[in-house]
C-alpha cells in the first residue's frame, strides 16, 4: 500500500516523464531517422507486428547522418554561433540594465515597491507577439524612432535598423528585461540593509558598497536572471523572424524552416537536440556555482 504523500510526490515525476522525458526521447529518435515522403515524414517506423525482427531492422536503420550534416554544413554551425553570440550579448546588456533597475527598486521606499514590481510585470498583460509587432512600427525606416531622430536632426537619412542584428538585440533586450529584473530584485530586496550600512560605516564609498557587498550577495539572483534570459533567447524564433532580416541566422529560425518549409523532421529534431546540448552547459555551470553560495573572494 503506497501512502498518499508518496503518491503526491510521484505527480511531478509523472508530469516530467510524460511531458519532458518522453517527447525528448521521441525527438531524439526522430533526429536519428531519415526524412521520407511519408506519413509521418521520416523512416524508420517501428513495426510492432514483426517482433524481434522488427526491432533489429528498426535499430539498424537509425544513424547519426543528421548530426554529421549539422557539423559539416556551415549553415548550422553559423546559426548556432550566431544564436549563442546574440543571446550572450543580450544577456550582458540585460545584466547591465537590469541590475541598476533592480537595485533602485530594492532601495525604493517599502510602500512603493509593490507598485514598481507591478510596473515591471504590466507588459505581460499584452501578447508577446503584439508587443514585438509594435517594435516593427518603431524600428522601420519610416517608423517612430527614425522619424524622431530625423526631426531632431540627429540623423540625415532614415534609419536602417529593422532587419539587422541590432534590431534583434533591441527586441531581445526589451522582451526579456522582466526576467532579468525580477529574480535580481527578489534577492536584493531580501538583503539585510544593515550590511550596506556596515560597509559604509567601515569607510566604503557607495560604489564600493555596491561592488563589494550588494552585487556579490545578489550573485545568485543575477545568475538566475541570466539563465532565465539566455536559455529561451538562444532558441528565440519570433523576435528574429519579425525584427531580423531574411538572412538572419538563429537556431530557432533554422529549426522552424527545416520543420515547416523543408519538412525535414529528422534534421529539425537534430537541431533541437543540438540546442538542448548547448543549453545544458550554462545550466550545469550555474548549478555548480549555486551549490557554493558566496564562495567568491574576501
Amino acid at each position: 500500500m503506497i501512502r498518499p504523500a508518496r503518491l503526491l510526490a510521484l505527480v511531478p515525476a509523472l508530469w516530467l516523464g510524460a511531458f519532458v522525458l518522453l517527447p525528448g526521447l521521441i525527438i531524439l529518435k526522430i533526429s536519428l531517422s531519415s526524412a521520407a515522403t511519408a506519413q509521418p515524414p521520416y523512416l524508420p517506423v517501428l513495426d510492432w507486428s514483426a517482433g524481434l525482427e522488427g526491432w533489429s531492422s528498426f535499430l539498424e536503420a537509425l544513424d547519426f547522418t543528421n548530426f554529421e550534416t549539422l557539423l559539416s554544413d556551415t549553415l548550422y554551425r553559423d546559426a548556432a554561433l550566431s544564436s549563442l553570440a546574440l543571446a550572450g550579448l543580450a544577456t550582458l546588456i540585460l545584466a547591465l540594465i537590469g541590475t541598476p533597475i533592480a537595485h533602485a527598486m530594492a532601495r525604493a521606499p517599502e510602500r512603493a515597491q509593490p507598485l514598481l514590481v507591478a510596473l515591471v510585470i504590466v507588459p505581460f498583460w499584452t501578447s508577446f507577439l503584439i508587443r514585438i509587432y509594435a517594435w516593427i512600427a518603431i524600428l522601420k525606416p519610416e517608423g517612430l524612432l527614425s522619424g524622431a531622430l530625423l526631426r531632431l536632426g540627429l540623423v540625415d537619412r532614415p534609419l536602417e535598423v529593422l532587419g539587422t542584428q541590432g534590431a534583434i538585440l533591441i527586441g531581445l533586450t526589451y522582451a526579456y528585461l522582466p526576467f532579468m529584473v525580477l529574480p535580481l530584485y527578489a534577492v536584493m530586496a531580501r538583503l539585510d540593509p544593515h550590511l550596506r550600512e556596515a560597509a559604509a560605516d567601515l569607510g566604503a564609498s557607495p560604489a564600493r558598497v555596491f561592488w563589494s557587498v550588494t552585487l556579490p550577495l545578489a550573485r545568485l539572483g543575477l545568475m538566475a536572471g541570466a539563465l532565465l534570459c539566455f536559455v529561451p533567447m538562444v532558441g528565440e524564433f519570433i523576435i528574429p523572424d519579425l525584427l531580423g532580416g531574411s538572412d538572419t541566422l538563429m537556431l530557432g529560425r533554422v529549426l522552424w524552416s527545416e520543420f515547416f518549409s523543408n519538412r525535414d523532421w529528422p534534421l529539425a529534431s537534430a537541431v533541437a537536440i543540438l540546442m538542448l546540448a548547448l543549453l545544458v552547459v550554462p545550466m550545469v555551470l550555474l548549478r555548480d556555482s549555486g551549490a557554493r553560495p558566496g564562495e567568491a573572494g574576501r
Partner: protein
C-alpha cells in the same frame, strides 16, 4: 569627565530627529570625554538607537549639532565619519571570511600590514587562528567578537555599540561584559553603548544617560541614578521602588516635609523637586526601609516572600497604601524561631529614614 576646559571627544548640541509627526530624539545635548564608557539606557522605542544612527550618519538630525573632537559631522556621509558602529545584528558579511570581514575597513593598508592588523585584532577578541573561518560556521559569541574586532579595526575615536550583548545568552553575556569593559579600558576608545538592560548599563558604564520618549532625562554614574533619580521613570528603571504620592507642606531643618496618605514624612529633595504646596512623588527603595522600628508609621504585613538572599514583604499602611520592603534573609534564617519571624497579619512600624526618601515631580 568634568574636564570642562578641553573639547569633548563627542559633543551633541540640541540634537532632534523628527519622523513625520513623531519625534524620535528630542533636544539631546551631551559631552563625552575621551576614553569614557557611556551607556544610553531606555526601553525599546525611546530613541536611543536612533541617536546612535544619527551619530553614525545613517540618519540626519532635523536640528542640532554633532561634533567629534570639535569637528562638525553635519553633511559627512557615514563612510567619512571618524566613528564606527557595531550593529545589534552584527551585520557580518556572509560572503567573506572572518579575516575578510575584519579587513574590510583596512583597504588603505598594504597586504602584509593588513594581515598583521587582522591578527592583532583577532588576538584582542581571543579568536586567534580564526582568519579563514566562514561566518556561518561561527557560534553567536564568536560572531559577536568578530563584529567587535571589525568595528575596532579602523581605531575609531568613538565606537558606537547597538545592544552588543543583546543576542547572547545570559551566562555568556555576563562573561562578555567583563571582557568588553577590560578591552575598552585597555584601548581607551570612547564607547557609546545602547542597551535596554539597566544591570548591563550599571555594570559597564562610567556614565549612563537615561532616555525616555526621545528625551535624555538624566545623565550620571550608576550610583547617582540609583540613589538620586531625577524622575519617577529613572527611579523605576534602575530598580524596584515604592512611589508614594503626596504634597509638600514645609521644611524641617534640612529636610522637606511631605504629607502622604499615612502621615507626614521627611525627605531629601532632588533638583527637579516641586515647590512648597505642590504635589510630589516620594521615591523609596524597598531595601532602604527598616522593619521593627520603635516609632514611625504603622502597617500590616500582607505577604512575605523568601527569595534566598533577601526576603520581600508587602506592608499595607493604614490608608491602604502598599509598600514593598526588602530585608536581608540571614536574620530570618539563623538562630531565630519561627515565632520571631514576621508573617502575614503582623502589625509593625516602618523606619522611613529621610535620607532614603527622595522627592520627585509627581
Amino acid at each position: 569627565m568634568g574636564d570642562t576646559g578641553s573639547v569633548p571627544r563627542l559633543g551633541l548640541e540640541g540634537v532632534t530627529k523628527r519622523f513625520g509627526d513623531g519625534v524620535a530624539v528630542a533636544d539631546v545635548s551631551l559631552a563625552l570625554a575621551a576614553g569614557e564608557f557611556f551607556c544610553l539606557l531606555g526601553p525599546s522605542g525611546c530613541g536611543k538607537s536612533t541617536l546612535l544612527r544619527l551619530i553614525a550618519g545613517f540618519e540626519t538630525p532635523s536640528t542640532g549639532l554633532i561634533r567629534v573632537d570639535g569637528l562638525d559631522l553635519a553633511g559627512l556621509p557615514p563612510h567619512r565619519r571618524p566613528v564606527n558602529m557595531m550593529f545589534q545584528s552584527y551585520a557580518l558579511f556572509p560572503h567573506k571570511t572572518v579575516a575578510g570581514n575584519i579587513a574590510y575597513g583596512l583597504d588603505g593598508l598594504s597586504r602584509t600590514d593588513r594581515s598583521a592588523r587582522v591578527k592583532t585584532l583577532l588576538a584582542r577578541v581571543r579568536l586567534e587562528n580564526f582568519e579563514d573561518r566562514r561566518i556561518e560556521t561561527l557560534s553567536g559569541g564568536q560572531r559577536q567578537r568578530v563584529a567587535l574586532a571589525r568595528a575596532l579595526a579602523r581605531e575609531p575615536g568613538v565606537l558606537l555599540l547597538d545592544e552588543p550583548l543583546g543576542a547572547l545568552d545570559r551566562g555568556l553575556r555576563e562573561e562578555t561584559q567583563g571582557e568588553l569593559r577590560a578591552l575598552q579600558r585597555r584601548l581607551g576608545t570612547t564607547f557609546v553603548m545602547v542597551t535596554h538592560d539597566p544591570g548591563e548599563a550599571m555594570a559597564l558604564a562610567d556614565r549612563i544617560g537615561v532616555m525616555d520618549r526621545g528625551r535624555l532625562v538624566q545623565v550620571g554614574d550608576a550610583a547617582t541614578l540609583y540613589e538620586r533619580p531625577a524622575t519617577r521613570f529613572v527611579a523605576g528603571l534602575l530598580g524596584d521602588v515604592n512611589l508614594i504620592p503626596g504634597r509638600i507642606t514645609g521644611r524641617d531643618g534640612e529636610w522637606i516635609v511631605v504629607e502622604t496618605g499615612f502621615g507626614p514624612l521627611r525627605a531629601s529633595a532632588s533638583e527637579s523637586a516641586p515647590g512648597e504646596g505642590e504635589a510630589a512623588t516620594l521615591a523609596l527603595r524597598p531595601e532602604r526601609i527598616g522593619m521593627d522600628a520603635s516609632e514611625g508609621p504603622a502597617g500590616t504585613i500582607t505577604e512575605v516572600t523568601y527569595l534566598g538572599v533577601r526576603v520581600r514583604s508587602q506592608v499595607r499602611m493604614n490608608d491602604g497604601t502598599l509598600l514593598r520592603v526588602s530585608t536581608p534573609a540571614a536574620s530570618h534564617a539563623f538562630g531565630l524561631q519561627a515565632r520571631d519571624l514576621h508573617g502575614p497579619g503582623d502589625t509593625i512600624r516602618l523606619d522611613l529614614a529621610p535620607e532614603a526618601c527622595r522627592i520627585l515631580p509627581p
